[in-house]
Symmetry: C2
Subunit: 471 residues, 2 copies
């Protein structure tokens, strides 16, 4: 299935000679996803430089029935930006639309184009003495359009919420090329349906987000970082509630780690030290921030942790006394995937349940996975404060990698069944893309799927936007 | 246009003898809105006691083409819950569905039915040592289903956001009677389109919200309330930024009041005292909360206010030293509408712009209103921290009330034109209902209206849900 050469030529004309790629070497970065799960084919990557060009591209594609895959920094985990293998889809990269259009410090807002790299937005906010809270591993290369299309999470969701929480306005090019401009910088606007949140998290299946207006926050002046050792996940959940009160609800990060990830890091990576003098079953990385200079905050956290140790809720705790110590704590958390890779292949899950159901999920999920893969190594870590775990199974030592990976569907089904039992999510922060499309159809209720399909059909009747993804 | 008696009988059967009202005296509270702007006619008010009954009601209405008006506490400002005058619409009141279904303190979530009165939810949260942040004037009688359908605002939006900000899951009966059950208690869930936010703020035009799961917060342990006198609105905006930092971004309330509202209160109401020894052009009520016991917070606010006075940003300031003084400050803010009513009729606007555009809006809007109504009294007060003003014009002393009220359309148009120029909202927190339906069509872009209509048609193809409202 190829695209008519005349259509391709008209698309090239829209963006001009600087605005497209069509040589195999140039196309390569756009046809594989970052985890190398998918490999596609496309004759053309368009790199529009304006909303108007995006509009003309989609109008033409809608007219002639050419499918479009929007592409950001290509850091997604679910293949949502990879074209199909049959060559029938063009890719539209937003990379050249990377301007910060305005920043209003007193209104605490920033307006920028979809191709802006996340770290650049953080920096721009900081230069204006403001704080842009979205933060995640790939922030040096992911683009904000992709972050919005996947409603990205990251390490500050406890305090600031998912990406959608700080979006005030969007500019979206609809599948037929019309521009939906709701780039308002308003904190309150009850004029009809909330269209904005429909496009956020839609993974490019309803249109292309070309720009957004974000809320900014005061810059943190006080940061307290602690590493806590615990006997149990239950304890970590109880401690979270105590720390929410002790900190004045200022917890930004609450990340859990089982002992095994530290063992992997100590075994395979350099520059990691065992943080306590003995081993513990669970660890939590806590970070608390305040926009005010607040020396008492550290004391309050310290006191709360001491009380937790006294009450045998926690086993031990360290509050970072220097930036270097803080960095060491964070490094333990951030290098988990690296340690995991050294230990072998992993079958991964990105799931969430009510925080209070996390212990049961880990218990039942581990049993189910180990029944399917005896001697597999369960690695459950991540955003405990949001009820979101990266709940992975690392291959048993010595097992054949391909044999292990062939068990992926069964392991996924077993874990996702338990998640469903607890009314959880099988895609807490990474989205659906192509990877979980079938799982979504399996677990989402028929009514929800029907409503999603009705909306898709209403907004993209010809189905040109990112077909084969999400629904 | 009457409804077939057979349909009415079948509807009565669904809810049983306790579940409907059809006597004129009983119907009266349901056919007029709370501001007495609209008066409708209906043959039947249904009071279902379960989601299943709501489902059967809508399935039947959809089947036979009977229009449905959902009704909560009937405290809305825009006639969104009043049936039409032709008797062709039935009312579905959610009042009997008023159970708090569950509360999970460690997950910081509460699940309840749509007919719960807002104050009851606040109380239930408090009993579990938690905080439910939605707070507004009518909280003793408004119902949470209405709060969600209008995406209510109130006095704590600066910190906690609009109603939609703390909804985790919804149960909605679709126009054809199917139940969309996404009552999850998850902080992260990226499994497809965000349907939840589509129903929130849709004012009952896409279905009936029957239950919701909310985020709760730690209970505030420290509250600092201050009343600040200012020379200008610009000063109030600059001060807001300074206080956000000084308080550790803990401002919950930031309400502005012009001198005239205090003059009205002093003139017409009892129990109001002029707070400072001289008059000031503008006042701001600031409230800061922390979930932690934090004696230094009051000092930090005091210091920041002292510095503001020294820098001539503020003229004077009082930090409440007792609960009685705090109540007195709040009373000044809360009794504004009462004082305004005593002064005469008002033409009201509920508008928002970027916070930094507030001074220009007030300047230009006042000029425009006074051009149309010389000697009118401009009353611009409210949620400055959200960029949302209740921007009203009170009738000139001695002017005929009816003559003044006849100028409403011109005054509205003049103000809304200026709001539109600043890319603001003509319905910041009260919604559209019937009152602003034509204004919405006038100001909203054609593309936005088209997308809204496409969604309405996709979800409610027969148009039975609250026709004549919003779109």
């Amino acid at each position: 299935m190829t695209i008519d050469i005349q259509h391709l030529n008209r698309l090239r004309e829209i963006v001009g000679p600087q605005g497209f790629l069509d040589q195999p070497g140039d196309l390569a970065p756009y046809v594989a996803d970052h985890r190398n799960l998918y490999r596609g084919v496309t004759p053309l990557v368009l790199r529009p430089s304006s909303t108007e060009q995006v509009s003309r591209i989609l109008a033409l594609c809608n007219d002639v029935g050419v499918a479009v895959v929007p592409s950001g920094g290509n850091t997604g985990y679910c293949g949502g930006a990879t074209p199909s293998a049959d060559g029938s889809q063009i890719v539209v990269s937003l990379s050249r639309m990377n301007k910060i259009r305005s920043l209003d410090a007193l209104n605490y807002t920033l307006n920028c184009e979809a191709g802006c790299v996340l770290a650049g937005i953080q920096t721009a906010a900081e230069a204006a003495d403001r704080f842009f809270p979205l933060s995640l591993g790939s922030e040096g290369s992911c683009q904000i359009g992709g972050n919005l299309s996947t409603n990205a999470g990251g390490t500050s969701v406890v305090r600031y919420g998912m990406a959608r929480s700080f979006v005030l306005g969007l500019e979206v090019v609809l599948p037929d090329g019309r521009v939906l401009d709701s780039l308002k910088a308003l904190r309150k606007d009850n004029t009809g349906y909330d269209l904005r949140d429909l496009f956020i998290g839609a993974e490019g299946t309803l249109g292309i987000i070309t720009a957004a207006t974000f809320k900014l926050y005061p810059k943190p002046q006080t940061v307290v970082t602690a590493l806590v050792a615990l006997k149990s996940l239950e304890g970590a959940i109880e401690l979270l509630a105590q720390l929410r009160t002790a900190s004045g609800d200022a917890i930004v990060t609450y990340e859990v780690m089982p002992r095994i990830v530290i063992d992997f890091e100590l075994k395979y990576l350099k520059g990691i030290n065992d943080p306590f003098d003995r081993k513990h079953d669970w660890y939590v990385l806590v970070e608390v921030q305040s926009a005010r200079r607040d020396p008492a905050l550290s004391d309050a956290i310290q006191e709360s942790l001491s009380a937790a140790i006294e009450n045998e809720l926690a086993s031990d705790a360290l509050v970072a006394q220097s930036e270097a110590q803080r960095a060491a704590f964070w490094s333990m958390r951030e290098r988990i995937p690296e340690g995991e890779r050294h230990a072998g292949a992993s079958i991964k899950h990105d799931v969430s349940v009510s925080i209070t159901d996390i212990p049961a999920l880990v218990e039942e999920g581990s049993t189910a996975m180990l029944k399917l893969v005896p001697n597999g190594r369960v690695i459950s870590f991540g955003h405990l404060g949001d009820g979101n775990l990266h709940f992975n199974l690392c291959q048993p030592e010595g097992m054949d990698r391909a044999k292990f990976e062939a068990l992926t569907p069964q392991v996924n089904r077993a874990v996702h069944d338990i998640v469903a039992k607890y009314r959880g999510s099988i895609a807490a922060e990474h989205g659906i893309g192509r990877l979980k499309r079938e799982e979504l159809a399996h677990y989402k209720s028929a009514v929800e799927m029907d409503v999603m399909r009705a909306i898709k059909k209403a907004l993209d009747p010809k189905g040109i936007m990112n077909p084969g993804k999400v629904i």
